[in-house]
Symmetry: C2
Subunit: 200 residues, 2 copies
Amino acid sequence: MRPGGRSARIRALVLAAVRADLVEHGYDSLTIDTIADRSGVHRTTVYRRWRDVGGLLADVLTEATADIWQPPDTGTLEGDLSAINREIYTALTADPPITTALIAASFRSPDAARALQAFWSDRYARCRPVVDHAVARAEIPADTDPHRLLIAATAPLYHQLVLLRAPASPELPDQAAHDAAVAATAGAFTSSSTSPRRSA
Amino acid sequence: MRPGGRSARIRALVLAAVRADLVEHGYDSLTIDTIADRSGVHRTTVYRRWRDVGGLLADVLTEATADIWQPPDTGTLEGDLSAINREIYTALTADPPITTALIAASFRSPDAARALQAFWSDRYARCRPVVDHAVARAEIPADTDPHRLLIAATAPLYHQLVLLRAPASPELPDQAAHDAAVAATAGAFTSSSTSPRRSA
DNA sequence: ATCCTAACGCTACAGTCGTCGTGATAGGAG
DNA sequence: CTCCTATCACGACGACTGTAGCGTTAGGAT
């Protein structure tokens, strides 16, 4: 019943319908009813298994996410961060906007929120070697906080494209990567450099 | 009819109902019907004037936003950025979460999206003197891009609290401010320091 | 004081969402 | 091969959305 049986077939049908509808009509028209009609699976079945549109997108993400992903290794911190940011930039400006759709859905669907959280958590963890290599090359201090550096490098991209809805400009990824690399080189993300400060 | 008349009274009634319902039941249960019942204003009237929930939240924001807002002036760049970030942190962790609700709504309502965009655009523009003062004090290079610096300082907050949904930790604002200030001091956000780089 | 018009109230409607109870069926276990 | 159960199909339901038409009213203008 589980692996090769009816359930698996239904799931494949539904997820295929989601992807197909996503490329044709985008995220806004993505409704449970549409997917049910398109896949030939009944409404209530889709509701029972996926709860809402967010659940559907979450399942599409987890299915599409290759967990073989490896961070870049260009030889310099800035190069690595640039490569990461270009990948994010591509995902956020892609068509169909699956990532953006999932982000939008995450505000209404706990399933989508969890899937996104898990995805990002995994990716940031996998990027940690980028920082380690930079430390090994003595580009940045040894006590640099990897997570904080990676957040600083990538956050401007998300902020500009997702929240501020700024027009996509191709130099954005490299700029953010450069700025974060300079900051790290100057010793910004070290635990020692932030706690003693307690200005008014 | 306009300023002190019926329209203004209706608007006050509805917006008060929105705020009240927001503090009691949060964003999820915020529906047009609820607001109509609560305010005593008819459904169709609410739909006509505000279109959807996003329109309501947008109006609440514009009404609540004092356009007398001034950026901090603590005497140092890091101090100013910290003050700004603490304000953002407070807004994003506030209860009721009006800002978060508006961000969520902005993905479904053009009105909410526009209101947010206008709000942020205004705030970032008003923060520009912070960077100018830092330049005047010779803390950072004169060709520092103000917008880029401000984005870098504030983006990690939004990213962590809104998208990554990380647990709120009070040192976040100061950390991000510190890191951005160090980056700016090291000459990160200058136009000259990013264009020549074109590494593999 | 009287008109005039913008704004509101009301009813009705079609569409979507999400859930529930009931019956049918596929496919694994014995 | 037969049973047993998880899963699906079906129909119906209440709630919310968003719109349209039409009557009503408040309040500014002359």
